[in-house]
Amino acid sequence: MDIGGINPVILIATLMASAVPILMAALGETVVERAGVLNLGVEGMMVIGALGGFVVAVHTGSPVLGFIGGAVCGAALSLIFAALTQIFLANQVATGLALTLFGLGVSSLGGQGYNGIKPPPTGQLLPDFLADLPVVGPIVFGHDWMVYFSILMTAVLWWVLKSTRIGLIIRAVGESHEAAHALGYKVNRIRLMCIAFGGAMAGIGGAYVSLARVPQWVDGITAGAGWIALAIVVFASWKPWRVLIGAYLFGGITVLQLNLQVAGSGIPVEYLSMAPYLITILVLVIMSAGRRGKANGAPASLGQNFHASR
C-alpha cells in the first residue's frame, strides 16, 4: 500500500523515531520555561549531548551509558547558563546564544577523531514477533526503547507539572517569582535545578541524533533541531502533550520531505529541505496570531531574572 512511492505505515513509524530528539529537548525546555527561564542554548546543549553520548557509547559499547553520558554533558553545559543567569544575573537571551555558539565550538573541537565510527546500535525493545505484525507492528511495537522513553517522559512531566507539589512550585516560580519568594521558595535554586533538568533532556535528545538517527558523528550534527524544539514549546503553549503533538508533526514533515527526495517527486531537493523551517515559521505565525496580547499561555515571569532585594 504505497501512496506516491511512500508507505504510510513506515512513514508513521519513522516519524515517531525522528521526533525523539526534538521531543526530548522541547520537553526539557518546557520545564525550564515553566520555571520562568528562557534558555536559548538548546541547540548547544543538544550538540554537546550528541557528542558526549557518542563518545561514551563508542568507548563503553553500551548505548544506555551513552544516553546517560549525553544527559550528563547536556546538564553540565546548562550549568554554565544557570550560573551566569541565576548567580551573575546575566541577560538570558544573550547567555543562551553564547551557550549555543560555545556548545557548537566545543563539540567540533572534542569530536575530532570520531568521524566515520559506527556507534553501538540502540536496540529494539520488544521481541520480533510483535514488531513483525502488520501495520501495528512497526508503528506500536517496533521501536527502540528511547521512543517509548520519550512518550513516558511526556506523560510523567504532564503529571508532575499538573498534579504534584513540585510542579506547583515550578509553576509558581515561573508565574510570579516575587510571590514565590515571599512564600519562602528559593527562586534561583529551583530555577537552577530546572535548567539542569532541561540540559539533561536536551543532551539525551542530542545523543539520540548521533546514536540512533544518523548514526555517526559529524560537526553540527543537530542542524537546528534545538531551535525547532524552542519553537515547538511556543507552539505547544507550554503543555507537555501538545509538545508531543508538535514534535510528531515536525518529525512527520521532516520524514516526509526526506521520503519525497528519495521518491523523486520532481520538487527540487533544496525546496524540500527548507520545508521544515518554513513550516515552523508558518505554525509560529498561526499560533501567535490566534492569541494576541497577554493570554498566550507564556509563564508571566519568562525571561526575567530574579534578584532578592529583601
Binding site: F88, S108, E270, V285
Partner: protein, 359 residues
Amino acid sequence: MFRLEKRPTPSKFWLYATPPVAVILTMIAGGILFAAMGKNPFEVIRTIFWDPIFGEFAFYLRGQLLVKAGPLILIAIGLALGFRAGIWNIGAEGQYIMGAIFGAAVGLAVFPTESRWIFPVMVVAGAFGGWLWAMIPAILKTRFNTNEILVSLMLVYVAETILAKASTGFLKNPEGMGFPGSRNFSSYPAAQNGFLYEPLGLHWGGVAALVTAVLAYILLTRHQAGFQIKLAGQAPRAARFHGVSPARLVVMCMGISGALAGLAGMFEVTGPAGQISIDFNTGYGFTAIIVAFLGRLNPLGIVLAGFLMALTYVGGEMASTNLGLPDAAIQVFQGMLLFFLLAVDVLTNYRFRLAVGAH
C-alpha cells in the same frame, strides 16, 4: 558568603572596565584549554594576539584585520541598535547570505559589463536583499506578534539552502566545468570590490563599516530615533507614553540591521570571498552578536570589539597553520569571551558584599 547588592546607578567604571577584564579572563581560561590540548599556552596566546600586529608577517596580516573586522563591525552595529531596543535579530547570518546573493546576482546578470554604475547598483541590491530578509521576521512580529528570535533564526537555514541552490543552480558559473560556485569577481573588474589601499586591507566594505559606526553614534547620541531606541529598551512603558510606536521601532531596527548585514555580505562576496559558493559564509552573522555585546552595544566600542574579534580570527588562522591548533578551538575561545563578558557585567549593576549576620 558573598551576596549581591544592587547599585543605585550603574557603575561608569565597570561599564568600560568589563570588556578588558573579560578579555584577560578569557586569555587565562583559553590558555588552560590550550595547555590541556598539549600546546604551549603562552606561544598560542602570543600567536593569536601579538604576531598579527607586530610579528614577522605583520605587514600582510595587519591588512587582514580590517578585512575581517569590516563585516563584523557592519553587522554588529545594526544588531546593537535592535538589541538596545529589546529587538532580537539573531538571523544576521541569513540576511548576510541574502545580501550577497542579491548583490552578486545583479552583477552577474549583466556580465561582462564595463559600466562603472554596476557596482553602486550591486551595493543597493545587497542592502535590499538583507533588508528584505529581515523584513520577514519584522512584519510577522508587528502583524502577528510572532517571536522574532525564532523566525529570524529559521530563516538562516532557509537562506543556506537558497545559497546551496544559487551556487549549484541559478548563479553557477556557466564556464565553471561543472564545479559549484559562481563566476569569480576577481576576473570581473567593474563589479569587483577590490582593495582601495591594500596594506591596510581597506576595501569599500571597510569604508562602509567605519562610516556606519560614526553615523550610528550620531543617531544614538544626537537624534530623536536614537533616543527612542534607548528609551524603548530601558523603559518600554515610558516609551509608549512618549509616543514611541513599538511596531515602527521593530521595522526600523530590523530593517537597518538587515540592510547592514546584506551590505556586509555583498562586499564580502565581491571582494575577499570572490564568488558565491556553498560555504562562502563563515558565520560572521553569529560572531557579530559577540562583537555587539563586547562593544557594549555602543558603535565606537563595536569598532574596537570588531578589531579584537578579527584578531582572534587572523591569529587563530596563524595558530592553526603554525601550531596545529584546530579551528574549532578559536570558536570555543570566542564563546568563552562572551561568557566572561556576561559574567563580569554583573559588576556594572551590582556590587559584591560580604554577607555578615542577618538582615
